[in-house]
Assembly symmetry: C2
């Protein structure tokens, strides 16, 4: 990837708050690297107007972002295939000399037309999801002095990555040597390392998660970004393997206020939070003693007063610290991590 | 693959009853296709002496099995990599014009030397685990008139495939239109179709399992071969996704008599059967109403009297029909499937 990265974020046609989550979180955590958002619907506006945050200009064409050196393709529809209208945009970006970074399952490097264009114009194609993980878990060499926290959720796309990043930032501010362990394409683009766990061959998912623990356990605390949900008809495989490979000591359970059903699958109601918590704990404890230490609520669709009431209600119901890390900061969750650290003597 | 297949089964150096399970089960279910077993330790003996079943000759070299047209590479150590001593054997087989069929994760077609040799000698390289599954589960078009049974286990390598095959045979003999749905390389080699679920990209495991249901639900009953175990530090990811994608109505819980710890990981004790049953049911019921209908015990390491006592004890403890399908036939499990079929009106 070119450094310093000067990012043009492609959201064209997919700029809602879920499918544009890569763009939203790069603006949130790497604003100094983001040059513009490419989205014809929002041209002339700012990222705050289009996506709810940041002062990044939204442009209608690549020509309108002459400083960009890298085009970022974020999340697409289920399955991660490249939307057909984006082909022309990607090819134009290549012709203009931009590197292309994609988090899709459909790999750029498997696309003969992209590969040929990139060769002609001397640009790099980076597939964040590409990996060659081929090792099983062994449960050898785990440093129990490192506290392992994992974010989990009652669904996908509701804030597990953001919660992980914010809790790690809070821990660092409290003087703790903490590390955000990325397991998805957005987290990897932000943190600069990690494994795209949902594209690992299933036999090696537990092993890849264990590898992330081994690679990062020299830190005092690691916060492993969870994926999907144990209740998701599509992605529960990923969630279970990640949970069993990362062998967390503590879980932070994430949910989105107001969401009643599985994202994009309205016929599947979400389980009650208490039930989700219980099943995550049962599942995690198969491999390692583990407890839920707090709840992270995404309240972004509700006004402040209702958000606070929700946090209070849930905190009381589950007997756990509860907050919206974006709205209120991660303080209660950071404190919960520190308390678990003291309790376990880690 | 050449037809009719005339199989030479490679077990050299790995001929114990777990790692040679592909060879053992091809001898069990496709004896008419097996020409010989290639294993230098057993040369001059029969497969019954080396592997416990069948009247197949064991040979020390490929030259001693001149009728063979296909070399089968079965299971290898964890991770499925090709053992280095086998390279020379594979290359010699290619030179002698045998097709090579491999169930290993390390693909034959990714090995430049094998590919070049196969090209020179005009033989086919078949990787049973190779797949291009790229679809998520959708839970659309499921025919609820088809009864879905899945075998599960408290560990890997203990008889889930054999149980599935035997129960399907028993159902057929009872006049039911039943289908064995293979999800592993041995099952696929026996049945001739299926998906090697443990090599599917994790995001698509639930989807691949669902695809197997959709492809086979025109039968009255399908019995889906389970993989791994929800309690296995290495492979639990595969098990969970398969369970959630296949949405079984009924489970047959398999275990091996006398086994106390995870296969090849003695530091991990197996959960009590009742606990395993409870957690499988909890997990399956997240997606679809499901109950355990019977227990399949692998008693192969014990004498008849002890085996019978074990079945009686477990049947009483769990209140479920219990048998060793090889030793006693699958009768009680077949009856349990038929009873569930009646109960659900399928």
């Amino acid at each position: 990837m070119k450094t310093p990265r000067k990012l043009l974020l492609l959201t064209d046609g997919y700029g809602d708050d879920h499918t544009a989550k890569t763009a939203i979180n790069l603006i949130r955590y790497k604003p100094q690297e983001v040059v513009a958002v490419l989205d014809r619907r929002g041209a002339g506006r700012t990222s705050r107007e289009l996506l709810g945050l940041g002062d990044v200009p939204v442009v209608a064409s690549i020509a309108d972002a002459p400083d960009a050196n890298t085009l970022i393709i974020g999340i697409a529809p289920p399955g991660g295939k490249i939307p057909p209208p984006w082909r022309a945009i990607v090819l134009e970006a290549i012709r203009r000399g931009l590197s292309i970074v994609s988090g899709l399952h459909d790999l750029l490097v498997d696309d003969a037309e992209f590969v040929e264009a990139a060769r002609q114009h001397g640009v790099e194609l980076v597939d964040v999801r590409r990996n060659d993980e081929h090792d099983v878990a062994n449960r050898k060499g785990i440093r129990e002095g490192c506290l392992r926290i994992q974010t989990v959720g009652n669904d996908c796309s509701l804030g597990k990555m953001v919660t992980s990043v914010e809790v790690v930032e809070g821990l660092k501010q409290a003087g703790v040597d903490a590390k955000f362990v990325a397991t998805g394409q957005t987290g990897i683009l932000i943190e600069g390392d990690g494994i795209p766990i949902d594209r690992v061959i299933s036999d090696f998912v537990n092993g890849a998660a264990e590898k992330l623990v081994l690679a990062n356990q020299h830190h005092e605390v690691i916060v492993v970004e969870g994926q999907g949900s144990l209740f998701h008809p599509r992605y529960s495989c990923v969630t279970y393997g990640l949970l069993h490979g990362a062998i967390p000591d503590g879980l932070i359970l994430c949910y989105e206020m107001g969401r009643k059903a599985v994202y994009n699958m309205p016929e599947f109601p979400l389980p009650p939070l208490a039930e989700a918590r219980r099943f995550y704990e049962l599942s995690a404890n198969i491999m390692h003693p583990c407890t839920t230490i707090g709840i992270a609520v995404n309240t972004s669709k509700f006004p402040e007063e209702e958000a606070l009431a929700e946090c209070e209600r849930v905190s009381e119901e589950l007997g756990l610290p509860t907050c919206d890390v974006i709205r209120h900061g991660p303080g209660p969750l950071v404190e919960a991590v520190l308390e678990l650290k003291r309790t376990l003597g880690k």
